[in-house]
Amino acid sequence: MDFKGSDTITGPRTEDVLPSTATAAVKVVIVGGFGVGKTTMVGAVSEIRPLTTEETMTQASIGVDDNSRIEGKTATTVAMDFGRISISEQLILYLFGTPGQERFWFLWNGLFEGALGAVVLVDTRRLEVSFDVIGRLEERGVPFVVAVNTFPDAPSHPMEALRHALDLPDEVPMVNCDARLRASSRDVLLTLMNYLHALALQRS
């Protein structure tokens, strides 16, 4: 542990300090492959500069070199960027951008189980990297929407073709977005909330 002592700790900026009434929190997870724009989207809508929480894990090494064979295990740090939106004086929405590999998810207690829902951010140039993520969310029963981050040089496909390739049921919302833009990223979150609202109506 490399704790530097309290003198070097920088807490939230004055304008980022929450009111004492802020005691109710909800979270949404933004999940997708490396470089798909998760942190960009978090930063676009967050009221604070995105922060990073991390977890350190050990992993049995697979005989990469002699040193690792002696140690048997290597330490790896897995990081998650996150941001925050104050919904009201009481309610705070947190957004977590998480790597797509499920084997990292357990490192944070209830990362998905406690979330209201998830946004799967996809890049049409590498659609297949989101296949496994979507399957894992289906298996866990986590409601999600799919947001297609429109990179300038990415091929443009009709949404129906993407829905077919991702084998998504009709009711799962799909939207185009530009993760760099606040309004666009906010609309993705609104799409998720509308979907969750519709699911809640169905249940009642």
Partner: protein
């Protein structure tokens, strides 16, 4: 489209305990720090990334420096994730430190609103209204 097609999956039967045992399969990762404050390695408090924490008192000279830093940070409510980020300590280390602080009632925590208890449409409507103001 040339990409391969995904195959839809079914929800697994036991969604309440889907987390795989981290030590069950060879090659699965494990948390590096499983430290606990208790003398006999007691349980960590069930803390979520977005459990909100607020200090009940100012640090006394007897608390550890890390815990004193948490007490100073949490004069206003702060999530466990933010504490981890500002202290640059892994999530599991922060939950361990907070377990002690909760046991000694130096901090209070408020569990997040999670999906399992959710079907609360008014909560979702509040979030939608908040997002529309962005």
């Amino acid at each position: 489209m040339k990409t391969p097609r995904r195959e839809r999956r079914e929800k697994l039967p036991s969604p309440s305990s889907p987390a795989p045992d981290p030590g069950s399969a060879k090659g699965d990762p494990e948390r590096l720090y499983v430290i606990t404050g208790g003398p006999d390695g007691g349980e960590r408090a069930a803390l979520d990334l977005v459990t909100m924490v607020v200090a009940c008192s100012t640090p006394s000279p007897t608390v550890q420096p890390e815990q004193a830093a948490i007490l100073r940070l949490c004069r206003a409510p702060l999530s466990v994730a933010e504490i981890s980020a500002y202290l640059r300590l892994p999530f599991s280390v922060v939950t361990s430190l907070l377990t002690d602080l909760l046991a000694t009632e130096l901090v209070e925590s408020r569990a997040p609103i999670v999906r399992a208890v959710l079907p609360d449409r008014s909560l979702l409507e509040a979030v939608m209204h908040g997002l529309q103001r962005l």
